[in-house]
Amino acid sequence: MTDLQTDSRFADPDSAYRLLIDAHRGLNDEDSAALNSALILILANHIGDSAVLAQAIALAKTTLTAGECKAPV
């Protein structure tokens, strides 16, 4: 079984980030949330490994418990 990979895997992380930003440009907040939900499902399926998905969820949750993420408005 593979573990969640958290090292940097993009050759050009800035362009990957920009793809996400571009995808949301012009969307209202509700559409953005819908897009993100679809995106997460697609990527989760691409990973195809519930154990890895669970690790990703756990890592993402740390950003909430640390109080570092703004609660969505």
């Binding site: 990979q5 958290t6 090292d7 940097s8 895997r9 993009f10 992380p13 800035d14 362009s15 990957a16 980030y17 920009r18 996400l20 930003i21 949301h24 440009r25 969307l27 907040d29 953005s32 949330a33 993100n36 890592l59 993402a60 740390t62 950003t63 640390a66 570092e68 993420c69 703004k70 969505p72 408005v73």
Partner: protein
């Protein structure tokens, strides 16, 4: 020549120069020069000095007669310093400037990321220095004056006429107008370029709505010379902030204010001082300069129009995150100048100037791309963009991938030109040297065993650097073991040089061709190629 006076750094006018009359103003027909340069900012000055060093006569025109009005640019990158070194201006910049290499990024209260720009030794120049732009300009002007450059203050270009073999500019002075022609005209007249307007060129790109307050404050404190960037710091609710050291105990502070900020109101000391107090936690500082900015990322389509060539901010403009404005402009100048010199000396045809457009518009696109992305990260436009940004910052504490995504400005590095002037590699190469990139520096010894930097050895001439005997070539040759010694082997390693290998560098020190075992015909072909033939 122009007299200049120095006042204390907190005065608006730092260096005052004088208008003077030249005989060109009495000439019936416009006097013709090889090159007329419009604009004595960092780019026009660098071009004028470089051309002069290459034996080309220039006239440099500027509509102002002083340097002052705030510092604007503060960070100058390694490659720029290397170019300035060749122009004879690096030393005063290094003496005066603040060397830094560590950058820290904070999210809310805590540090989330730290970077070190050049952890490697064996380079003459540091990764970056901070220096008020007025000092840089002043050092360039002093050098220009030393070289006897014809630098005409209060000479404002107000018209231009293109011909087949040159262009004629209409110049306004306090004593009326006159005309001047150049076989080539360099438009280095800045972001509000008159020449761009006169030629009707479109200035296309993205305009960012967020406003930023830029303040230079004088204070003596125990801060290290590092670049500190805050996202959502407690002292500046919801916005980003930057603190960066300059010489003379001056600190650059950059505060994001948002799109609604009122430019007049926000610059009032009654408004600025309390903001800074909150950030610094004390009020033991003096305001030296305050300004409010919004940023643009844009360029003109083509950098060459007949005999008029655009360089620096007249051709492209970026946001300051990444310090890519003056840095890329000075590299425009260095790219253009050797090509102009070759064309004017009859060594290359005019088509070589087209490669200036190809190479530097490529660089401009790269710079615009980087500075646009940085601005997206620093000034998110929607709640979702804020969430992406904040999630990246929060993840950065534990996930390395997120650290690499933090973008508080990707600092200027030299562009690797993907260019027709390079001869494609036939051999396999490792090492840090790249085709189309500037030569890596390294400490070597000259023929007499005296320590010298490799880049100083290259200087501004096209050179073939060889590690072992090469056949008869007409090119200036630097043979390791005879003309210089690579005792530490650092140069060998950086170039991945094997015995018998040879490297052809352009007059701007960019690598044009390399071979493990060169033939004289290969070298000759590569030399023609770098001339655009």
């Amino acid at each position: 020549m122009a007299a200049h006076t120095e006042t204390t750094p907190d005065h608006r006018t730092l260096y005052q120069f004088g208008y003077y009359r030249t005989s060109d103003q009495d000439a019936v027909e416009p006097t013709r020069y090889p090159v007329v340069i419009v604009g004595a900012g960092p780019v026009g000055l660098a071009a004028a000095i470089d051309l002069t060093l290459r034996g080309i006569k220039v006239v440099l025109l500027d509509d102002a007669d002083r340097i002052g009005e705030g510092s604007r640019g503060i960070c100058y990158a390694k490659r720029t310093l290397e170019v300035l070194g060749r122009l004879g201006v690096a030393q005063p910049c290094l003496d005066k400037g603040v060397v830094w290499k560590v950058g820290k990024v904070f999210f809310k209260e805590a540090q989330v990321w730290q970077f070190d720009l050049l952890p490697e030794d064996g380079h003459a120049m540091p990764a970056f220095i901070n220096l008020q732009q007025y000092y840089l300009e002043h050092f360039l002007v002093e050098r220009a004056i030393d070289l006897g450059i014809d630098l005409r203050w209060r000479n404002k270009v107000v018209g231009i006429e293109q011909g087949n073999d040159g262009a004629t500019v209409q110049v306004m002075t306090p004593e009326g107008e006159y005309r001047l022609s150049g076989a080539w005209v360099i438009a280095a007249d800045g972001p509000r370029s008159t020449l761009r307007g006169l030629l009707g060129l479109e200035w296309r790109g993205e305009i960012f709505e967020d406003r930023f307050l830029i303040a230079d404050v004088k204070m003596t404190g125990d801060f290290p010379p590092e670049r500190w960037f805050w996202f959502e710091p407690p002292f500046h609710g919801g916005h980003s902030a930057l603190l960066h050291k300059q010489p003379d105990d001056v600190w650059r502070i950059d505060l994001q204010l948002g799109p609604e900020a009122d430019p007049v109101d926000e610059q009032r000391p009654e408004k600025v001082v309390p903001r800074l107090k909150q950030m610094l936690g004390h009020d033991r500082f003096e305001l030296e300069w305050v300004s409010l900015y919004s940023f643009q990322c844009r360029r003109i389509d083509r950098f060459v129009h007949g005999r008029v060539v655009f360089a620096g901010d007249s051709a492209h403009q970026v946001s300051p995150f990444g310090a890519r404005g003056a840095n890329s402009g000075i590299q425009d100048a260095e790219n253009l100048v050797w090509k102009l010199a070759m064309v004017l000396n009859g060594e290359a045809s005019e088509t070589l100037i087209e490669t200036y457009h190809a190479e530097r518009s490529q660089a401009a696109d790269e710079n615009i791309r980087h500075s646009t992305r940085s601005t997206d990260f620093i000034a998110p436009r929607s709640p979702q963009e804020v969430r992406f940004r904040d999630a990246t910052l929060a993840l950065a504490r534990s996930a390395p991938f997120a650290q690499r995504m933090i973008n508080s400005g990707r600092l200027s590095i030299a562009t690797v030109h993907d260019t027709s002037l390079s001869t494609p590699d036939v051999d396999r190469w490792n090492g840090v040297a790249q085709l189309g990139a500037p030569a890596p520096d390294a400490p070597v010894e000259d023929a007499h065993g005296k320590p010298i930097w490799f880049l100083d050895l290259l200087g501004g001439t096209e050179s073939l650097v060889a590690f072992g005997a090469v056949q008869q070539v007409k090119c200036p040759l630097l043979l390791e073991g005879r003309d210089f010694h690579d005792r530490r082997g650092l140069l060998r390693r950086r170039l991945d040089a094997s015995d018998g290998a040879a490297f052809l560098f352009r007059p701007d020190q960019h690598l044009a061709a390399r071979w493990r075992k060169p033939e004289a015909t290969d070298i000759a072909a590569a030399r023609r190629r770098l001339r655009g033939h």
